[in-house]
Symmetry: none
Subunit: 138 residues, 4 copies
Amino acid sequence: MITLHQARTLVAAAEAKADDLGIAVNIAILDGGGHLKAFSRMDGAVLGSIDVATRKATTAVLFNTRSEAIWEYCKPGAPAPGLELTNGGLAPFGGGIPLHDSRTNLVGAVGVSGGTVAQDVEIASAAVAAFIAKQETT
Amino acid sequence: MITLHQARTLVAAAEAKADDLGIAVNIAILDGGGHLKAFSRMDGAVLGSIDVATRKATTAVLFNTRSEAIWEYCKPGAPAPGLELTNGGLAPFGGGIPLHDSRTNLVGAVGVSGGTVAQDVEIASAAVAAFIAKQETT
Amino acid sequence: MITLHQARTLVAAAEAKADDLGIAVNIAILDGGGHLKAFSRMDGAVLGSIDVATRKATTAVLFNTRSEAIWEYCKPGAPAPGLELTNGGLAPFGGGIPLHDSRTNLVGAVGVSGGTVAQDVEIASAAVAAFIAKQETT
Amino acid sequence: MITLHQARTLVAAAEAKADDLGIAVNIAILDGGGHLKAFSRMDGAVLGSIDVATRKATTAVLFNTRSEAIWEYCKPGAPAPGLELTNGGLAPFGGGIPLHDSRTNLVGAVGVSGGTVAQDVEIASAAVAAFIAKQETT
């Protein structure tokens, strides 16, 4: 399972990237069971993104995949219409990324919301990169 | 109504087919009132499929039809837009199949989720085939 | 995390004890994140016990304690009135027991409902005893 | 409104006090509208306290009072039985404290859960003391 120390590494890297981009986002870190481990709302981030960030991370944990991958299953013409309505509502767009330990076990997820989807993905990716970098040095 | 013995026949056949396909799925067996009778999450099946498998089976019981048949009523241009939002949320795609006794009474449903929709349907169908085969020999 | 094989050991032991007592119960097995792993409703068990069994197990996972221990915090005169209303509703009475691995990590819980509370506790305890016995021999 | 910097001061002070007490807790910081600003689950804190910590803080914001004060309104014989069932469920016991700016405007709340109620109150109080100390020096 993810530690609070790891969660803070993720949050700090996400905030640094958001600062680089000049935007304010919400960042949710969940453990491998989908339970909240850490959360940070940067000053100025919109309130509606609290739920979106958390839901993106939940989507990533529940299906062990990047949140946008769900869209391939439920978009018009895809085989699972309405999949996004399951599990209390998924967020089938970018910004949620699962986290794995060195043995590829699912240990959590990060969810980012507040910028454009492309910015949210860039920020979440920066967080995951920092998480992996720390893993490799330990 | 379905018995626990019958529910186990369904689960075992579903698991055997999933093993054949080399995938891990969630299998939910409901009775004719839509209440959970048996459930099995194979090791490695994603967490998000717990709800999806159960919801497919619920959809099958509620409308006494295969879950994907609901899509014909609520897809774009169909006469009942939003039908999938009723009953707490339906799963209008393949993997849920109703179960009937020898007099065609609805006695339950099986719901499978964790593979592609086509795989889920194949697994649920194998479960129903085993259920029917047992019925005919008794 | 708990395996499906372990979950079945728990279910089988619970059913055997319920048979001994001459009653029918619902048995829910959750993983350490509170997600359903296996479920069995014995023939004749009341429908209302499906939710109660699951909720007892959820209570045991969420607070890493036997479900009845929650009552000490929320009973009249206790320091946390209303605690039972949190987390979507707890079941602060006997029948939910957490499961730990050999290193005392929380790996899941069993919840039993359908008999008297004393019977439910006896059945859940028999399940846990079988779970531990298998652990020791492996 | 509370800033992320202030939220971190609160979280750090709460964690330091929890460390002193040798326990692990969940800490939720909300803004004056009851929306999540920051959250931290210390390693080892029980999962059920995520919701309890958040709910205590919500209770403190919603009624601009310490969470335990709600109990005086809804306890047996008090004039508002069932008040604890409003607003999606309150937590009418200690551990939630509202936060005010230097002009006594409500700007947020801290909620702590994971120890005994007395410990949770002690930790939340330490967080508020650190929040006020910073306010006075600025």
